[in-house]
Symmetry: C2
Subunit: 326 residues, 2 copies
Amino acid sequence: MRRVTLEEVARVAGVSRATASRVVNGASTVDEALRHAVERAISSTGYLPNIAARSLVTRRADAIGLLLPDERRMLGDPHLASVVSGVTGVVRPLGVHLVLMMTGPGTREQALSDLRCGRLDGVILVHTYPSDPVPRQLIAEGLPVVLAGRPLDPMPITYVDVDQTAGAALAGRRLKSLRCGKIATITGPQDTPAGQDRLTGFMAEVPDAVVVHGDFTRQSGAAAMEQLLRCCPDVDGVFIASDLMANGAIPVLHRGGRKVPDDVAVVGFDDSTAALTSEPELTTVRQPISDMAAEMARQLLRQITKPRSPVTSVVFEPSLVVRESG
Amino acid sequence: MRRVTLEEVARVAGVSRATASRVVNGASTVDEALRHAVERAISSTGYLPNIAARSLVTRRADAIGLLLPDERRMLGDPHLASVVSGVTGVVRPLGVHLVLMMTGPGTREQALSDLRCGRLDGVILVHTYPSDPVPRQLIAEGLPVVLAGRPLDPMPITYVDVDQTAGAALAGRRLKSLRCGKIATITGPQDTPAGQDRLTGFMAEVPDAVVVHGDFTRQSGAAAMEQLLRCCPDVDGVFIASDLMANGAIPVLHRGGRKVPDDVAVVGFDDSTAALTSEPELTTVRQPISDMAAEMARQLLRQITKPRSPVTSVVFEPSLVVRESG
DNA sequence: CTGAAAGCGCTTACAG
DNA sequence: CTGAAAGCGCTTACAG
């Protein structure tokens, strides 16, 4: 299996390399007869364009990066597979590669230089932490980027998110409709937009709720529930701002002699796998991760195609998934 | 921020493009003084090599693919983050990109043509299904590939795996040491090497165990446990061939009035997140996924560097993680 | 609509 | 050890 070049295709088809190139790239300005000849030559030779050569002249890598936090934080994230799937779904058919980078020391810089040297056309940033300098650098250099989730500090960057506030409100209304009398919430970290918004949205619906803080980890969910049971033993409904925390909290409820949902109703957030591995299965707020990821890909592609196109934010509606816990 | 080329670096350093290229690529045959001059020029200009141009002449993409099953099957796999992390850990420092591809209709072919047209230097195949033609095609064309896990049908392909048989034996010995009298196992699918080996290894240790079949999904774990309780109500120890199945099985045990581990000891396999979301937390057999992924990367890199290097298989030792369930 | 030609930015024999 | 030159395989003005 030798490498077939455009040169050979052209020779076989009896046209110039330029014409062969045009049909490969679907230019409309090619005579039908010649087009057919070239197409025949392509399939008879098994021609595949050399991407590096093309890339050298088009100045496009036809590759985008997905910048993830490190493994440890990622393991807690149930959405990786859905994100990857959503992005590749729109990007692959266009011949664009998705390259994965996990943030280690210096890795974010890596991504930056990949962008600068044209190895990547753009990046999707998945979990920026509050003081992450990378988003600002990217927009300062005018490099195509989209954020998964609203940035903590306002900045002119396109992002896609779910309406966290509305999602939390959904949870609040659910608990009220269950006639819970003493309602509480276990929050996410308050230095993240999601953590903040889920609290805000919930409190708007249940202003007198008891608030205990967590940080989205399972352990923090368990700890917060212990604290809650101590300070507020008559609680009968709780919104836990992530399924993972709920997963840690429910066993604490059981050990404390409460049945879920009979004694205490529980609503989570994320509709992650943790919602299904909980016992009972979690009623939770669903984010359409795959759709959101696909939208991120589209937004990024748009920026790549049309540099300096306007900053956009797309916000998806969450929905309530009712299962057993509340 | 204009693109700086090697040409300019050479001019600034007062050397030829060839010499500049040599120091960029770390050739040892460059005079110290010139090397310094070039290095200074590189940092003063902020030079970054154009990968496409390099790739065009070296005929290397400096990118490898990770071929995954589709989202649905992937969601059940707890190891994605660890695999990605293990692979990027060895590959990134070398400037090699990891591109992710999820298997949809036609996607496996995509990967093949990416390989053929030099867009990818090699691929890691994560979940080949029994009749998957891709591995054979790859080896037929002499393309660099490594499999995650032993192939079902013997073929000359390099793979890395954990010693599944030994792992299952570990589980068997654990149950025996707990003085379980009536021992059973819920198996994985018997058309996969892992499913087969975990059964074989366990039966070697506990020949009289009751066998119920599952397919690695949570639902199948629940169903199998129901069946087990029906046919063998006095069971007091069970090895469940994946944590996910165990996660589905334990609630069935609880509903059946059994306490874990007091009435029935449970040992799982994988040490996945499902082991921690179970209640109680699972005693399980751990595979060193991250290390295994790193080894896959190394094996692949070796094949890329030295084509036609001998087929290798690397088998890692599993270990028992004792937690609460057994 | 088509082709001859230039050029994308690098690496690497080759000669010195 | 160094440089002039060829060449990697494509796309794209440009002229016709």
